[in-house]
């Protein structure tokens, strides 16, 4: 029989105001195994902890139940306290009588009854607890960053700066990401490429950083400190060691009809291409789908003109397998598809564009060489209408419920830049609210209104109708004046919502990192652990975690790097002993557990099984406790109950349920 001590915390008035803690103490004393019970205003305080330590020693306790806040808050505190007093830390259980009880109840009688029931369940569990020992695992001192945008680059630079090796995996042929597509950045209006390219060069030159461009993560196994990752290096068809980046192949390539992704499809590119002039690495790739040589077998112009002999049509995808201690997800964002927003005529008129397309049009390296012109007839526009919140803060299922955060500021930027360069162009902005929290942000917006006389109208646009003369009739409403507005525009710019890169779903599943309903990766704690995923060893950087602008992304990238460095600096990690274990006598060898295990932690081996009346070789399940994360899926799948989770055994669970239902 265990000797259990129960410690009931008041948490100031957080618990004591709703739960009669004295009564809880009195009632739990009668529970089986309980030899000690007391209450204290703050159990987590040093004085509170010393009372627990004292009771463990004087009462010779073998188990402890603390009735307090969520185990997420203080389970570790109390377990360490028990360990210091000579008790195995896994003999401590928390009954959450704050979040699960006092905070959600008003009636003291009911809350007290529930607190006693929750304590009873924890006591029933401790009665069946057994001491567990944490194991140790090693740490591979290398980090992987998935995504080579500004978030990924900054994280990698910061990790490399601390002296650790970092690999960046980037899906496209060059690092740089969305930021490389931007023309100017708010609120300082400096050129995006001018501040980004030095970082790209730094990443490429840093000997601690390895770039895998035109590559994708294919498979992830392992666990914190010891991940094994397969990276698919897609065939570039160009030998990176030979190519000099002269660009002749791109000039001579006869296939020129492929929509240019970098310019958001506003113009076309050759089949062999580098996405943009400052691309890193400055080595083109052959887009095999659009290459005449690959499609028909007849061409080979690039190979003929390449002085360096770098073109290699035979090149194959390569799989690189590497070990990493930590993985950072920096997969960024894309704009939502606008196919559900027929009212804005985006698909009908080439003069209705998204903000990112405008960004390319304004850029000197863009499809119009930086001249503001309509894509339909290349005439300069006279009236431009910006529509904010297209798909953001959307009440229906067409768009996103969240605010994309960056649109108010970049729209003010666009409006200001246009008014500055083309003072005779009228600029109107339809908005729901203008949101400008941030250093120098509101000043920036005020400048657009006051100095540049951008016409801001509070209200949404109902419809954009292309007119026979090529103009666009914008039907909106001015909510402040409360009247309908019709504006004859010749260009409409939509501030489309941003969403996480669709690939993140696959990556999150591979990493067993959780994502929310909007496909944003979830943090371990929204306030206190914002750059860590709940999955140990996985960190978050940039917009994959939530909408943010460049300065915020860079700050988060640095924060993620610090967390990675903190992990890689350790030589060994303690492993969670609450892992699954198979009872070989009851195991059927049916493979149900191995089939449901998301971590590949279960394998089968033939073992000699000996028991009274049994002596045979059986196929039985074996759990690799280093890989097991203790999720418990196998214990549910096992038909014979042979698979059990240490620290959360079937018997303990049933004892808790029985105690609650008593």
């Amino acid at each position: 029989m265990q000797r259990i001590g129960v410690f009931v915390c008041h948490c100031g008035s957080n618990i004591a105001a709703t739960v009669d803690v004295k009564k809880v103490v009195e009632l739990v004393r009668m529970e089986p195994g309980v030899v000690w019970a007391e209450d204290y205003p703050y159990m987590c305080s040093e004085a509170g902890q010393s009372r627990i330590a004292e009771a463990i020693r004087t009462q010779k306790l073998t188990g402890v139940v603390v009735c307090s806040c969520s185990p997420r808050m203080h389970e570790a505190t109390f377990r360490k306290c028990a360990e210091r007093s000579g008790l195995n830390p896994y003999m401590v259980e928390i009954a959450n009588i704050r979040e699960h009880c006092s905070w959600i109840h008003k009636n003291t009688e009911e809350a007290t009854e529930k607190a006693v029931i929750l304590a009873r369940a924890a006591i029933a569990k401790v009665n069946l607890n057994t001491p567990l020992q944490a194991g140790e695992s090693r740490v591979t001192k290398r980090a992987l960053v998935i995504g080579g945008g500004i978030a990924g680059i900054q994280t990698a630079l910061d990790i490399a700066d601390a002296g650790y090796e970092v690999d960046i995996v980037e899906k496209t042929p060059s690092i740089g990401g969305r930021m490389s597509q931007l023309d100017k950045t708010f609120p300082t209006l400096d050129c995006s490429a001018c501040i980004l390219t030095p970082k790209m060069v730094e990443a490429s030159a840093n000997e601690k950083i390895t770039l895998y461009t035109y590559s994708e993560v294919e498979k992830v196994s392992g666990f914190v400190g010891d991940f094994t990752v397969d990276i698919r290096k897609k065939a570039r068809s160009v030998d990176m060691s030979k190519c000099t980046g002269c660009g002749v192949c791109q000039e001579k390539c006869p296939s020129r009809k492929t929509p240019n992704e970098f310019n958001r499809g506003l113009n076309t590119r050759s089949a062999i291409y580098t996405p943009f002039a400052q691309a890193i690495p400055n080595v083109p790739v052959i887009d095999r789908e659009h290459c005449i040589k690959f499609q028909t077998g007849k061409c080979g112009v690039c190979a003929k003109v390449c002085q360096a002999g770098a073109i290699d049509y035979e090149q194959k995808d390569e799989i690189i397998t590497r070990k990493y201690g930590a993985i950072v997800v920096a997969t960024g964002f894309d704009m939502i598809k606008l196919d559900k927003y027929g009212e804005y005529a985006y698909e009908q008129s080439p003069d209705v564009i998204t903000s990112l397309e405008l960004e390319r049009i304004m850029n000197a390296a863009g499809p119009t060489k930086g001249h503001l012109e309509r894509m339909s007839d290349h005439r300069p526009p006279k009236n431009i209408v910006f529509i904010q919140c297209v798909g953001s803060r959307c009440a229906d299922e067409r768009g996103k419920s969240y605010c994309s955060k960056i649109c108010c500021m970049y729209t003010a930027k666009h409006a200001m830049l246009i008014r500055d360069k083309y003072p005779d162009v009228n600029v109107t902005v339809f908005y729901i609210d203008v949101r400008t929290p941030g250093k120098n942000f509101d000043e920036f917006y005020r400048r657009a209104v006051e100095e540049y006389h951008v016409n801001y109208i509070k209200g949404q646009v109902g419809k954009v109708t292309p007119q026979p003369d090529g103009t666009l009739l914008v039907h909106g409403v001015d909510l402040l004046d409360n009247h309908q507005v019709k504006i004859e525009a010749d260009m409409v710019v939509l501030a489309a919502a941003i969403e996480p890169n669709p690939d993140v779903r696959k990556i999150a599943t591979m990493l067993t990192a959780s994502i929310d309903t909007n496909n944003f990766l979830t943090e371990a704690h929204p306030k206190l652990r914002p750059v860590e995923s709940p999955t140990a060893g996985i960190f978050l950087s940039g917009v994959c975690q939530g909408p943010k602008d460049i300065p915020e992304t860079v700050s988060q990238a640095g924060a993620a790097a610090v967390k990675v460095i903190g992990l890689l600096a350790k030589d060994k990690l303690l492993t969670n002993p609450c892992t699954a274990k198979a009872d070989v006598l009851a195991c059927n060898g049916c493979s149900a557990c191995a089939n449901v295990c998301p971590y590949g932690a279960i394998s089968y081996e033939d073992q000699e099984v000996r028991a009274p009346g049994v002596r045979e070789i059986r196929r039985v399940a074996v759990v690799n406790s280093a890989l097991c994360q203790g999720c418990g899926a196998c214990t549910v799948a096992c038909p014979s109950g042979a698979m059990d989770l240490q620290g959360f055994s079937n018997r303990q669970m049933i004892a808790e349920v029985d105690a609650i239902c008593r």
């Binding site: 599943t509 309903t517 006598l585 009851a586 049916c590 799948a637 038909p639 109950g641 042979a642 004892a655």
Partner: protein, 323 residues
């Protein structure tokens, strides 16, 4: 039957198999029982007729551990169970030589009795190539009954006459399906909750915990059943009071969910006539609805929807959205 005896004898004689797993006559004319035969002489007791409903695949678990191959006679529906057991590594395919025996539907003596035919001494015409009508000799003279009217419920919703696994085939099979597989389940689903509860209350209260269903069920193949284990404080809980007696069947249905091939043995062997197959069939229907059509045991290596983790699995939040 003669052909089967002859072929089994040949395979025993040439050493292909070390024993034969089939049926032999029981103590009554309509209850043949599973049996192993090790010599050609013993084979004269082998029978195969309409009353050989017993699914022999589960017996292959023990037979797999023996020296040499075992010839096993499997009806089309039994082969699903066989495949499922191979998939779960409970039966070694290499240790089995399967003769896929023909089937024209199996008989339920209770269905004959329910037609008012009592005092049965013998049933004629139950052979595989027998007539469409059974002749039943009773104390009060000869009675007739259409073969189809005496068939087990499971044969009216037959999965098909194809064998899913075999080494050789012997005898013709016939299509016997003439009812909707999920009609009974749908009827119960339509009941108001109270009525449905009362229905199961009534049916399950007949249970005497004889464990026949568990013993016959090929999916209930655990080395140690959770109800016999001391690990969960659940041993023999099931016969303590009426609540837990019902829980036995519900827990059993959960344990075989996704693995049950709907062979119908549970209902066939229940001495109390409880329609136990309805629980399993409800699960099968739900699996089909939520995860797409799935028939356990069609093959021995396909992945089962309930016990298969893939990278494409939806996040719980997404499942919630779908409802």
């Amino acid at each position: 039957m003669q052909e089967l005896r002859k072929r089994a004898g040949e395979l025993l004689a040439d050493g292909t198999v070390a024993r034969v797993l089939a049926w032999r006559a029981g103590d009554l004319p309509y209850n043949p029982e599973p049996a192993f035969f090790e010599t050609e002489a013993e084979l004269e007791h082998l029978v195969y007729d309409g009353f050989c409903g017993a699914n022999l695949s589960k017996l292959m678990i023990e037979a797999s551990k023996l020296e040499g191959k075992t010839l096993v006679c499997l009806k089309p529906c039994d082969t699903y169970s066989f495949n499922q057991l191979v998939k779960e590594h409970r039966v070694d395919r290499e240790k089995a030589y399967i003769i896929g025996v023909g089937c024209r539907g199996k008989l339920d003596i209770e269905k004959i009795r329910r037609q008012g035919i009592r005092g049965i001494e013998a049933v004629e015409g139950a052979e595989l190539d027998g007539p469409e009508e059974l002749t039943i000799r009773t104390f009060s003279g000869e009675k007739k009954c259409a073969y189809r009217d005496a068939m087990l419920e499971r044969c009216h919703v037959c999965k098909g006459k194809e064998h899913m696994a075999y080494d050789e085939l012997l005898g013709e099979s016939r299509d016997t399906k003439d009812a909707e597989r999920f009609a009974e389940v749908e009827a119960i689903e339509r009941m108001p909750a109270k009525e449905r509860f009362a229905y199961f209350q009534k049916e399950l209260s007949k249970c005497i915990r004889c464990n026949a269903c568990r013993n016959a069920c090929p999916a209930c193949s655990c080395r140690k059943c959770v109800f016999d284990s001391t690990k969960f404080d659940s041993e023999q809980k099931a016969n303590v009071d009426s609540f837990e007696e019902k829980m036995f069947h519900i827990i059993r249905a959960f344990h075989v969910a996704g693995r049950c091939t709907d062979c119908g043995e549970c209902s066939r062997v229940c001495p109390q006539g409880i329609p136990l197959h309805l629980f399993n069939r409800k699960f099968i229907k739900d699996i089909n609805t939520f995860y797409g059509e799935y028939q356990a045991g069609t093959g021995s290596d396909e992945k089962a929807p309930l016990t298969n983790y893939t990278l494409e699995d939806a996040e719980p939040s997404v499942v919630r959205e779908r409802g």
